[in-house]
Subunit: 263 residues, 4 copies
């Protein structure tokens, strides 16, 4: 289980959201409030859209709270759209390749959750990754495999459909393997223009997701970054928040129909 | 503030104390119970006496809970006398040179505590280190400076006297600089034969120190490693625990006289 | 391409072979003489057999020449049988999980060489790893996949047969994919009692392998560790050096028959 | 001995100079041509001026050639003025705090060279650092101490005078200690508007320094970044190259008079 934050709107220095709020992601790396794991010290990552179509990535294995490079980058970098993530490993090694966000072409992805019983279906999840994307499989997490499997379904045309189809296929794999642990998926996905926040679980304990409108834009976060909790909207379980850069967030139920049709 | 453990007695695999107890040092790195900082994730270190007079050192900047090398070493290494330490930085960088234990010749040292207002007297503390030892100043912590200053007073002849004299001199420096924060010093020192555990503070909040006799020998620890708390003896504040390899621990009040005579 | 050293015989401090020789593995990490890559600075690893059946592992991403932990461990650890490896990546990330040696149960393995065109058959090589061993696939190198594929053939009964069968299967995969780059394999394998050194290539440029008898035992190395080159025996291409702890090395041609029968 | 590059002019992506040239700094990290140490694999650093007066810093202990974060940052960051440095340690540890460039307020500094016999005068060089700057002493290199000592002389008013005065004082310390090794100093200094490149040595072997005019601006470098060596001007020993952002480089002899007057 992990913690993450997305900003989309006008350009802001990353420090404004990653370092400064009283319950910033850095603070959450030491003391998360609403997470299964209070400490999120198994590496972290930044992804941001700058002047190029492909996002920049900075991922490191130190805890976020102690990395001077992260502080300097957050003071210098200004971006309309960025992802930040602090990691609490569910078993895989503390390695850069296992840190979120993951990038593929113009797409960024990060995840809080877990594929239940992953070790038992790891090969099958990896087999979902098409050959063309398999060289991008750099680590061993379920999250990276899940992202590449989803990306293999074609993100450019129908990103939400690709996610739903991928989740359905994984639930079918889990069912086939007799796995009873849940699939939990609170995740963010973006191509630099559109942002999608998913809050989903196959049981009734989907990891939390909130959003808040700031003057600079919309922030999605695993938990509120400040004490003004009333300003934060909890995304309901099994819902999707979507927005375009400069637009307003829209919430919709995750259309689960494809899941059953696949299973 | 940090957490540490010492073992002295018959040879044991390090894992028996560092990994296996329910509240082992690894567990304390994530959730210390009696520490100012609950998370001790700013690096760690092992020091052990093997076949050579000088101790071995393994220090790393990853959190102890996620380091596979640490697990393998603790499974393989067997030693009569070893130190283990997990670090919660009080401000200095997460770097190997800032991780405990510190070694100088045959001596090992590790520390939980802080020189109050250290930045204001850092140069003066460093000036206490004699020229011959100054090349061993590899990091920037108060703990390493304190150790080298103490070592400069001559550990081989009178280690406890060197510590007391060093602490007195630092308290005098603090007083001279008008520092009101306390000097806290719960530390371990050994030459491979003798072990000294200090619990001292210039205020009334000396960091905790416990010891327990196991079949394999004596264990000193910042907090009990298991749930049998009745088996652990709390070392009183301003006391010294000392033992020889194979001997029994003796507790004595820390003779504070030298402190006032210097100040 | 990498450099490696094995010692098997009486217990010696690792430093005697890893640090002290004028052309030690540490020296080779900066300036290898007979390697495709002169600099082997992409991490390193130690594996050694101590008091347990399973070997210890210490692997790190720093260059070997600059790691103080490595120096301390090599001064402290004494072993009859140990492996040491410095890595020059052929493309995969500098990560601990990509550093040699690799361990599985009692077996240690390390490799200098490359599966030509690996990215094109990576999935198929990974598919050679049996389910029971797949959780041990922690990194992304061809070497680790190759080792686990070999291990899946049963190392305990017929380790050389498992290697030959594995290599044959991989050559067949390469041929099937139309890969023209060679399979190069200069590798060491041990269970703590027996040591096998392989020098093989599908072309005529098998990476070098030498051995020398010292008073303490036999050393296998990618290149001589000292200037007494006359004391080092070059293992011929497509040969196997095998010995038991305390025994003498025997050289035999690698029986290639199984290769063609599979292909 | 190290290698470094400065760019000053119009905004360019860092990759244009740090990654792309055939003999870029990354290439030099593996194979420097004109350096005492061919391999510069003991960490690296970037410093750049963005939207804030203070520069950004990214420093890491991995070799520059293997750091994926460095590649991503160099692709994303665009700056008028930046520093890049690859390190070959002259003895101090591989730690971020020992990596160049160093920053103090608006000033950036990086260095190729060495204070001869540094260990013998380390304390005295550190004593040159004024109290107000001593908290910025994070590492143990001679280069960082030298920079802070120079900064203590007042960079804002007379940066070149501060450097010359600092060097003179250090030469006097060296002479006082009977040190016969040279002081070598090929260094870059900037406040974000002005850039100074120094090539100095107390003997006749000042580390090389070159500059070249590109359409985007002026590049200073330890050695030419490409094969068009005729386009690169060698800065003569004991000279200063200075320029303002948007201006042209001027070369002047380093006025050594202050050196003798201090000594």
């Amino acid at each position: 289980m992990c913690r993450w934050t997305v900003h989309a709107g006008e350009p802001v220095f990353l420090e404004q959201l990653v370092l400064e709020p009283c319950h910033s992601l850095i603070a959450q790396s030491l003391h998360a409030r609403e997470a299964k794991a209070e400490t999120n010290g198994d590496g972290f990552g930044l992804g941001w859209y700058g002047e190029r179509p492909e996002p920049g990535l900075y991922r490191e294995i130190l805890p976020a709270w102690s990395d001077a490079n992260l502080r300097s980058l957050c003071r210098q970098l200004r971006a309309r759209l960025f992802f930040a993530h602090v990691r609490a490993s569910t078993g895989t090694a503390t390695a850069r390749a296992n840190c979120h966000p993951f990038a593929s072409g113009r797409w960024l992805f990060m995840h809080n959750g877990q594929i239940g019983g992953y070790e038992r279906i790891r090969r099958k999840v990896e087999a979902m990754i098409p050959d063309a994307l398999y060289p991008q499989r750099h680590g061993t997490t379920d999250s990276e495999a899940l992202f590449l499997a989803i990306a293999g379904r074609g993100l450019d045309d129908d990103p939400v459909g690709a996610v739903l189809g991928g989740l359905a296929e994984i639930e079918a794999l889990m069912a086939g393997a007799g796995i009873e642990e849940p699939l939990r998926f609170t995740a963010a996905l973006s191509d630099g223009e559109r942002v999608y926040g998913f809050r989903y679980s196959s049981d009734d304990r989907a990891p939390t997701l909130y959003f808040r409108d700031f003057p600079s834009g919309t922030v999605l976060a695993s938990e509120p970054l400040d004490i003004e909790r009333a300003c934060w909207h909890a995304v309901p379980p099994n819902s999707l928040v979507s927005l375009r850069l400069g637009g307003v967030p829209e919430i919709a139920p995750l259309a689960l129909a494809p899941l059953s049709s696949v299973a």
